[in-house]
């Protein structure tokens, strides 16, 4: 059995590499975008907030699976063609940005007016106030909810399976079908557990770093 595991491990690991790539880029892109849209959601310019609200409603109200299929199989019908990887990334970033925007909106709205006023009488600019005072406080507030989404993303990334990307799940499934054994799927489960354990550990570190102040 050990021999068999060693035999299929390389393909599983390369699948895991793809999963991590999608995970990584989605995080890198959708967290900053979520901050920006979250700021938009708290702006006083109503047309902007309405537009972002609509986007968030659409992304959170429909399945990510549908969005993936829509981008990869649907959009080519009207002439917009992505390759598999770009389609997956595009759909994931769109979807996760919406969730992060909502989370950051909540965080931003919990910062009291007095903090902005105190910064204003010290003559900090709006951007200085955001960068040095508001965003660090918002980050601390949203760490648990962002953490949940990040863990979800690891598991959601397996959805790229449907558009034929060779991720971890596909690698496991291919081996199971070929060799008629459960071992590959069990290994896939173990690898997902390891990934979520690592991310949970990192989140704990981040949380600890933000717990030096209250």
């Amino acid at each position: 059995m050990l021999n068999y595991i060693m035999e299929i491990l390389p393909s599983l690991l390369s699948g895991a590499g793809m999963t991590l790539q999608i995970f990584f880029w989605t995080i890198i892109l959708s967290i900053p975008l979520g901050v920006i849209l979250g700021l938009g959601l708290t702006s006083k310019f109503k047309p902007l907030t309405a537009l972002i609200k609509f986007y968030v409603w659409l992304m959170r109200g429909t399945p990510l699976l549908l969005q993936l299929i829509f981008v990869f199989y649907g959009l080519p019908v009207i002439g917009i063609v992505f390759d598999r990887y770009d389609a997956a990334l595009f759909a994931f970033v769109l979807n996760y940005t919406a969730y992060f925007a909502e989370i950051f909106r909540g965080g931003l709205q919990s910062i009291l007016k007095g903090q902005y006023e105190s910064a204003k009488v010290l003559r900090l600019t709006y951007w200085q106030t955001l960068r040095k005072i508001v965003i660090p406080q918002v980050f601390k507030i949203v760490i648990p909810s962002v953490g949940n989404e990040v863990i979800n993303l690891i598991k959601d990334s397996s959805l790229v399976y449907v558009i034929g990307i060779g991720d971890l799940l596909r690698a496991g499934n291919v081996a199971t079908a070929r060799d008629v054994t459960l071992i590959p799927l069990v290994l896939v489960g173990v690898i997902y557990l390891l990934l979520t354990a690592v991310v949970t550990y990192i989140l704990g570190k981040v949380e600890a770093r933000y717990s030096t102040w209250r």
């Binding site: 007095g114 903090q115 006023e117 105190s118 009488v121 010290l122 003559r123 005072i133 601390k140």
Partner: protein
């Protein structure tokens, strides 16, 4: 010298300040007194540029001056809020040096050196790396004062400086304010505590509630 001429302020057609005329002389302490709801905070917020007045003029040393728009000029007004509004994510030292570094473009060393001098005066030495939640109410207030002073304001404003503190700390606040006056600082103090006002004020301005 700061002069207010016919300053009025309405909130949703409700007149809160009605033609206020007053003068704050250099190096003096002006106390603004009046019952709760009279509009003291509103007056202080108008002076510090946090509210746009409905009508009237401000003059600084005889020159027209709009605290609401005048964000780019030299520091004119410093504010110590009733609840201090320290930045919880920054240490005491960072709270004090943030604006001098970012706005006045001071170097770290300069800003910290000046902060240390002022902190020593207000008995805050050794608190540099604490976060606001680790301070007592009186210490928070003194940090808020040092933070405002670090911007070299011409006038320092306080809203109800005794209200968030234990009564036995009133004496301490009095001596801080009087101490700053001796160094030449012009100060405006809002309070509903008449005894406190009489102890420190050179001049007292009464705000009366408007009954409509």
């Amino acid at each position: 010298m700061l002069t207010l001429k016919d300053i009025s302020k309405q909130f949703d057609n409700r007149l809160i300040l009605d033609n206020i005329n007053l003068t704050v002389k250099d190096g003096e302490i002006l106390c603004i007194v009046g019952p709760s709801g009279a509009g003291k905070t509103t007056l202080l917020r108008s002076i510090s540029g946090l509210e746009r007045v409905t009508s009237g003029k401000f003059l600084l040393d005889g020159q027209a001056f709009d605290p609401y728009e005048n964000r780019e000029n030299d520091s004119v007004i410093g504010v110590v809020f009733q609840d201090f509004q320290l930045f919880p994510n920054l240490t005491v030292m960072e709270n004090i040096t943030l604006a001098p570094r970012l706005v006045l473009k001071k170097t770290n060393e300069e800003a910290e050196q000046e902060a240390r001098e002022k902190m020593a005066q207000l008995n805050l030495a050794g608190k540099e790396s604490l976060f606001p939640y680790q301070l007592s109410g009186g210490q928070k207030q003194r940090v808020a004062i040092v933070r405002a002073l670090a911007m070299n304001p011409k006038i320092l404003c306080y809203d109800e400086p005794t209200s968030a503190l234990d009564p036995d700390l009133r004496q301490e606040v009095e001596s801080i304010i009087v101490g700053l006056k001796q160094q030449g600082m012009t100060q405006i103090v809002v309070t509903h505590d008449m005894t406190f006002a009489e102890n420190i004020a050179d001049d007292i301005f009464q705000v009366s509630p408007r009954n409509e």
